[in-house]
Amino acid sequence: MSGTIKQISLFAENKPGRLSKIAESLSKAKINIRAFTIAEAGDFGVIRMVVDDPDKAYKTLQGQGFAVSETEVIGVEMKDVPGGLADIANTLGKNNVNIDYAYAFVTTSNLALLIIRVDNVKAALKVLKAAKIRIVDDKEVSRI
């Protein structure tokens, strides 16, 4: 869907050396990681990331034998002021869109970005645009 970002997720065991193997694979393929988060559940975790070239990252990691999936997430520009996150959360909440998970990062151009995974992407895009909140898509992310 246009306006969204392809997030790469992969399954990883929660043990030393796993993350470095993943990072090395991406480094060799010259893929740049924009944002990154790990959700852990005991013995394993799910690593989620936004990269400059998601298709290449997907192929690279799959080629290394990882269980990888692509997920549609939304990148939202966040004002770097108090209440920046509240605006976004309010807009979605009022319109009954649920945030499954979110993580944030700040770019070198001082752009604060919030990556959100929602239960209804179409509705989320619509209400965010209506609230004049700026969406950052795939193309923009790869240019950062």
Partner: protein, 435 residues
């Protein structure tokens, strides 16, 4: 009342020749009987080209075909019973290797024989009237609870039918009812000792416990030493499986091998080719049940590795002894007293599409208790970005395994391609327990 030394002095101390005469007579009767009453055995005998009249002496037993656990499974539920079902007074059921359980049945006579066998054994452990036996084997389909219960009542002891679990209550009752003996798995007793200490109770100093009848899982002499010194008791090994009736045989007070009642059971120890091993060599135990009516077994390959000792014991009993069980002839694991076959786990995993065909089973001892972990690979197709899906998958596998194994296991999801690819069965099982 003075302590009885023997439950049945005459038979327990009978000369070896007399025991062999009994065995020979009973073997001939058994072979005649199963040939007449069982289609299964008749066919087996025919395939082996053997007829009842070929079996005249004990040495002729090698002409008879072996019976396997698989036979019981293939003839589920009661295809191998040799009496009409209206003569069966009880069933017990143990979990099977591929989902199908094994059903065993008992006539009134079978229950009596089981009970008197245990009465002899418990007496040999120095127990009798006046003793208070806390029976912490599982009651129900498992043979341990009811079997021990009947045997303990038979010798006139007072039984606390405790069953498994609720450790703190077990310890309180042990102390408050002045239990003098306990029957359970060795690992559970060690666990109880640990819990008692935390409760501020010393089994050694604050209870009347003097003996423990321990079995249903392998344990070492070192474990025995630890149990005996830390709790101030004598720990006796007990042996038996549901196919033979249940727990049947124990050590005597000499603690030098388990006495097997020769008037009811005929033992062989064989090598990998099925030939008898030399005296004192280890091999696979093969048992023929001489007295069982509902489900007699001929040359049953029980799967345990042991050494047979035919010398008369210092205690005066002439019946042969088997040494401590040294291992298994197959890949069966015994976890907290429950038999687990890797094939059971495999068949469960095969029904769950989200996991690959590779798996690994890890047996460990955590604290004093056995712990089983099943590691499975998440397939690429099944991987979802959602953590909750993966956690639910773990729970689902746990639930399906529990249904078949009757055992709580840990499940670990691992990355695709990380488990060793099968180079034979052994790699699938990692047993880290130091038994």
């Amino acid at each position: 009342m003075p302590m009885l030394d023997y439950w049945n002095s005459r038979i327990e101390r009978a000369p070896l020749e007399e025991l062999q005469e009994i065995q020979e007579r009973k073997l001939r009767q058994l072979v005649d009987n199963v040939y007449r009453s069982s289609v299964f055995y008749r066919n087996r005998f025919k395939e082996a080209g053997v007829k009842p009249e070929h079996i005249k002496t004990l040495d002729d037993i090698t002409k008879l075909p072996f019976t396997y656990k698989k036979d019981l499974r293939d003839n589920y539920p009661t295809g191998m019973f040799c009496v009409p079902l209206n003569q069966v007074v009880r069933f017990h059921v143990s979990s099977g290797t591929t989902g199908k359980p094994t059903v065993v049945g008992y006539t009134r006579g079978d229950v009596d024989c089981w009970t008197t066998s245990l009465a002899r054994s418990l007496t040999a452990c120095g127990l009798g009237r006046g003793d208070i036996i806390q029976n912490s084997y599982g009651y129900g389909l498992f043979t341990g609870g009811l079997g021990l219960h009947y045997g303990a009542e038979e010798i006139g002891a007072s039984v606390i039918p405790m069953g498994v679990g609720n450790t703190e209550r077990q310890i309180e009752l042990m102390r408050d009812l002045n239990a003098t003996a306990i029957s359970c798995t060795p690992s559970y007793l060690l666990h109880m000792n640990e819990v008692a200490r935390k409760m501020g109770i010393s089994i050694k100093d604050d209870t009347c416990l003097k003996a423990a009848i321990l079995g249903a899982e392998p344990w070492s002499l070192e474990t025995r030493k630890r149990i005996e010194t830390s709790m101030g008791i004598k720990a006796y090994d007990i042996y038996g499986t549901s196919e033979l009736s249940g727990p049947l045989f124990t050590e005597c007070e000499e603690q030098d091998g388990i006495h097997v009642w020769a008037d009811h059971f005929l033992l062989e120890v064989i090598d990998k080719n099925g030939d008898p091993v030399k005296e004192g060599q280890k091999g696979e135990l093969v048992v023929t049940t001489l007295s069982k009516e509902a489900l007699p077994l001929i040359r049953y390959k029980i799967g345990d590795i042991t050494i047979l000792n035919n010398r008369e014991c210092v205690c005066g009993r002439t019946h042969p002894r088997i040494m401590r069980i040294l291992g298994r002839a197959d890949d069966m694991l015994i976890i907290r007293g429950i038999n687990v076959f890797p094939s059971q786990i495999e068949s469960v995993l095969m029904t769950i599409p989200e996991v690959g065909e590779h798996f690994q089973i890890i047996a460990e001892r955590k604290g004093e208790l056995d712990d089983l972990t099943v590691r499975v690979e998440v397939t690429r197709a099944a991987f979802s970005d959602k953590l909750a899906d993966l956690m639910n998958l773990e729970k689902k596998i746990q639930y399906e395994l529990k249904k078949v194994l009757q055992l709580q296991t840990n499940v670990e999801l691992v990355e695709t391609g990380t488990l060793p690819r099968s180079q034979g069965k052994s790699q699938k099982v990692v047993d880290r327990r130091k038994i």
